[in-house]
Symmetry: C2
Subunit: 218 residues, 2 copies
Amino acid sequence: MVNKKVIARLSSYRTALLRFHELGFVKVFSDTLAEAVGGTSAQVRKDFSLFGISGNKKGGYQTDNLIEKLQALLGKDRIQSVIIAGIGNIGTALLKYKAFEGEGIKIIAGFDIDPSKQNKKAKVPILPLEEMAAFVHENEIRIGIIAVPEVVAQPVCDAMVATGIQGILNFAPLVLRAKPDVVINNVNLQNELENVIYFVNALSKRIKSSPPNADITD
Amino acid sequence: MVNKKVIARLSSYRTALLRFHELGFVKVFSDTLAEAVGGTSAQVRKDFSLFGISGNKKGGYQTDNLIEKLQALLGKDRIQSVIIAGIGNIGTALLKYKAFEGEGIKIIAGFDIDPSKQNKKAKVPILPLEEMAAFVHENEIRIGIIAVPEVVAQPVCDAMVATGIQGILNFAPLVLRAKPDVVINNVNLQNELENVIYFVNALSKRIKSSPPNADITD
DNA sequence: TAGATTGTTAATCGATTAACAATC
DNA sequence: TAGATTGTTAATCGATTAACAATC
């Protein structure tokens, strides 16, 4: 059963492995990797076997080989070109986000209705929304980021899907709907912060009142 | 068992309910709410019962009463003051993020080592990191956001925890460690995008090759 | 009242972990 | 070889859903 959580762990393994590789580790054990990401060795092995990744019965896993396989699974073996709709606060931050560059993620164009934000000549051109379809076709883009205001997020999503985009990372604070063969990952910054707020409150209440309660899990 | 996922659903219920309230709904059924957030009615009722929220055996739930209870649980019944460390791309975006304002989340100060970013006189002052402890104490801040570069994220986290901050929303691309009574929510933008990339690839491969496979779940 | 909906228990489903045979 | 580690199966754990008695 491959779900979001498994893939998130794969990302974590990869990050840890890059560090191990940097440190000169030629091989790595499920145990070591588990400790690095805060999991169990059984889960590490299970996850790998799910993707047909195997190690050596005694010698663990070859670090570079393992990294390569994870890179391929996560699409890190080539540059991923994406577009972004909405050049506001979040959109601008993502456009300039350094960490994406080193990770093979390239935002190759932005789209916004506001003419004052448009700039066809910039290194990363900012274009009017109407040009999105043509751009997506011409550049064979499959993935888009939505960072527009809430009220226009669903129509912008519909427009993206209409161009043939297959995956969307959404920062607008609502759950976008699309046909089932489009992958949508909703990141809601308010909700993430609300989550922290809830558990901080719950924890401090617990200290004040009596019943100890270790129920807060992920 | 209260975990992150339950609280995330509470946030979703709240958003849906605000819309229903706007539309003039006085009461709402578990069924309606479930449909709005893409869940089941049983789960809605289960979630509520977990927090001692009850409705009427026939009449469903009172919309305004329900909203109020969720607000209180999610800390929306008062202004939540937070600070942010790292005034780079992400940090700046969050500082200006409109959606926070309307949601009772107030970033009341930023911290950065770069003197060119500091500005004690701004409406939201940007201060040197060394002043964080004093500021946190003076203003009784319990929640911080980390948006600093990866290499300094853990030390900044340690510094925050040392000031007494109890909850952290982390955007640096690594899993922060802290003592167990500190709540940490890691949001890794690269990983979120990697997730989309993986499923887009997996989906397109599936179309090309034969075995249909509905295994991609959340 | 009859019908509809809640609240909760029991059943199911899925994900994680423990355990151990295979084997390098 | 002896010891250690993988790969996988079975056991456990936890979360979701189905079902239904209570009841408005």
